[in-house]
Amino acid sequence: MTVFHIVLLVLLIVCAVAACTSKKLINSVVIFMSFSLVMCIIWFLLESPDLAITEAAVGAGVTSILFFLVLRKIDALNVYIEDEENDDNNENNLAKGEEKGHE
């Protein structure tokens, strides 16, 4: 049984790392949504079903909707974040992102 716990925890850590290092904003939001779902399963394994339902409904549900709405609102659905070195690449993306938004 503890193997299942450990596998889920490793998956949790992988999701956390992926959510932070992914380049596109929408990727990190989707991975963060999967992070909440894995967290919901872990609550269930830790024998606290209250937390499982709340995390599923509130964490994965509403938080992700808000993230997507914000990305939609600021036309950043396709923004590509480079590292700090080549900032100019980031500029035209932002600019490109903006044009697409205003069409």
């Binding site: 079903p49 209250d50 339902i53 509130v58 909707i65 808000l66 900032d87």
Partner: protein
């Protein structure tokens, strides 16, 4: 004597007296002429901001780039990244080192399993009437925390109202009209899904004290049902059932009932007066005293807040 010199302007005494009287000559480009408040009207942020054309943005970005690209700034950024990684790693190592000294995970005689949790489990059913001990603990033993908790949600909703709500007289943002295209698939799916989700949410709220769930999770599920309905059928039909007025009334009514009911039980508890609320038979729906009604109030507050977040983010008006 110094006044006679022709360049007494930059003599030490003049500079000192300027400093003392705050008359420091401030070069103009450090403080560009600030936009004067037109006839002292509170400038709506977006209206003030709309005068900046795209040219201003690009000019401003050069200003930022010039500032960033100086050699000095590059060095600072690299140093900042290194220092922050080092700080984070030391924090993780220190915490991991402490975790190895903490009591073992999951064994019976941890300090946390003492007489406090024993009473919750053994007398929980008799004292609060709630089969779900966690719900009984939240809404009866430690009710003051949960009252603070629903106030956190209420205050978060007020914050988002302050930030994102534009006035009623302003025309609807254009993307609201453009955005909503009748999507048959979503509508047909919502026609089936919304009632199911709503019934499930109501079930979770009503059975909060019997099965896992309760006010927070049930309210979030009901909020999700409202969001799906607004998504599928657009805001006009939603406006008929759920306008800003009903939003304010529901939140006000639920939180006021919660506050008054809980202050009654705090007052009777503190002054050792026997409270007249019956506990009922365990296992029945109308059983555990106030917990059912408090669950309903918290469920309503959470549902309205979640829906309120969605509409405020989507179109700036509930």
């Amino acid at each position: 004597m110094s006044k006679l010199k022709e360049n007494y302007k930059d003599s030490f005494s003049q500079k000192f007296s300027d400093f003392m009287t705050g008359d420091l000559e401030v070069p103009d480009e450090v403080h560009p002429r600030k936009k004067q408040a037109k006839n002292n009207k509170v400038i709506q942020a977006d209206e003030f901001f709309s005068e900046f054309t795209d040219a201003d943005d690009i000019k401003r970005r050069e200003l930022y780039q010039a500032f960033r690209n100086r050699k000095f700034m590059e060095w600072i950024n690299r140093a900042y990244n290194i220092i922050s990684v080092v700080v984070a790693i030391t924090i993780i190592c220190v915490l991991l080192f402490t975790v190895s000294f903490l009591p073992a995970f999951g064994d019976k005689d941890n300090p946390a399993n003492n007489e406090v949790s024993e009473r919750y489990i053994e007398d929980g059913l008799d004292e609060t009437g709630a089969v779900n001990i966690v719900a009984g603990m939240i809404l009866d033993y430690r009710a003051f925390d949960t009252f603070g908790e629903s106030n956190v949600l209420f205050i978060a909703c007020c914050c988002v109202l302050i930030l994102l709500r534009n006035d009623d007289d302003e025309p609807l943002p254009d993307e609201d009209v453009v955005d909503f295209r009748r999507d048959i698939i979503l509508e047909k799916a919502a026609k089936f899904l919304v009632p199911v989700i709503l019934v499930f949410g109501i079930y979770v709220v009503l059975n909060g004290h019997l099965s896992p769930g309760g006010g927070f999770s049930g309210g979030a599920i009901m909020g999700a049902a409202l969001i799906l309905f607004a998504c599928a059928y657009g805001f006009e039909r939603m406006e008929r059932i759920f306008s800003y007025k009903t939003f304010r009334r529901i939140t006000f009514g639920a939180l006021l009932f919660y506050g008054l009911a809980k202050s009654y039980s705090f007052f009777t508890g503190a002054n050792h007066i026997e409270s007249i609320i019956p506990l009922g038979t365990p296992g029945a729906i109308l059983s555990s005293g106030l917990i059912l009604y408090l669950n309903i109030c918290v469920g309503l507050v959470v549902a309205c807040t979640m829906y309120g977040f969605y509409t405020l983010f989507k179109r700036g008006r509930i």
